[in-house]
Amino acid sequence: MQVFDFSIFTSISAITFILEGVGDTLLLTFAAISIGLIIGSLLSFGEVYAPPFFAIPVRLIGEILRGIPLMVFFFLLFLGLRLDVWQSAIIGLGLRSAAFQGQILRSSLEAVSIGQLDAAMSLGMTRPQVFREILLPQAIRIMIPGWSNEFITVLKDTSIAFVLSFQDIMTRADLIARSIGRYLEIYIFVALLYFVLVRSSTAILNALYERNRIPGLGEKR
């Protein structure tokens, strides 16, 4: 028995079947990231700005979300709440990501120096103006690198939606591998495919960071 048999990739239909999953993988990634961003923003604003009686439960929600394994989320939503495959996948990944995006945004908001906020107030800006003109534009820039990591984590963890039979790259690859009995070649192909997706994402996000970086700050040394 030969170890590698890449001749299986001469079968175009096997490859296209797997590649057709790229769309769903990306769709799931973007949907989950978006939900995570919206809920994560609410969590971080709640933690930073809300009065304690509100901030404490918000922090608790964040910690609970961070403490649950993704797989458990999926089973809770799919088997427990009987949501469909797409709903379970998006909401599960989205909630887990909300907890982390909330942390990233909160630390970015807190990274803007108090002195600048004092200066903005001393000009007579209202609190919403300080937030809009000074705090948010800087926090978003500070956030990009950490947020890029979270993006690729979500991108890769869409593969865990395999347990829901979500028709992404992973599930399709598994079907092919089983049907032709070649696991190693198929999963090397899948690994490369994820690598290409992740590398392209980081390239785009790095470019975004470089373009929006505050001149003179965080220069490459």
């Binding site: 600048q116 001393s122 000009l123 007579g124 505050i214």
Partner: protein, 248 residues
Amino acid sequence: MKEVLRVVDLKKSYHKNEVLKGVSFSVDEGETKVIIGPSGGGKSTLLYCINMLQRPDSGEVYLDGEEITKGKVRVNEARQKIGFVFQHFNLFLHLNALDNVRVGPLKVRKMSLDEATQTAVAALKLVGISEDLWSHYPAQLSGGQQQRIAIARAIAMNPRIILFDEPTSALDVELIGEVLKAMKDLAYGGMTMLVVTHELEFAMEVANEIMFLENGVIIEKGPPREVIMNPKSERIKRFLGRIHKEES
């Protein structure tokens, strides 16, 4: 002379620590008053309480005769008339020099872009920041340049008074001069100023009055020559002696 700022019996504590124990004074239009005193004596807290970045526990602050420490006054409107220059400049890091100065007139005073730009450019010229630096960001500028831009940012709001909180303390020695020059120009130009500083020469040259603040109270005030050359209290003599030693 018209009175611009009046501070009456201002008190402020942090936890059990009473930082201001009843401070009263006033500043007339066009005057420059200098506050000196040892670290931890309450100088910065006094300035922060005047524009309400920190809430005083009791006492009153009047700006042009109107009490701004009253609860119902809109603090942000009072602050528009009180410039503040910080020890650590506190420029907005994501804005270039011009935008740092322009953001106040544009967003707070609601000027048009043209008008705000003209105002900002005039202020930048006043503090000697040349056009080639307008597009630079704070992290690309020297401390002296940053502080002069911070002064321009205050000027551009056309305030009734500017408060300076040790504006040269965070600067390298060779950069202090350019900032003091900008401040002197401003004082001679008629701006009303309240300056916390250790720069005694500056105080001698431009101050109408020096106040010595220690342990939350003003223990002596008077014309700079009297306070610096011939202080009544032993405490001030010792303090000045220490500053002179550091300078020499």
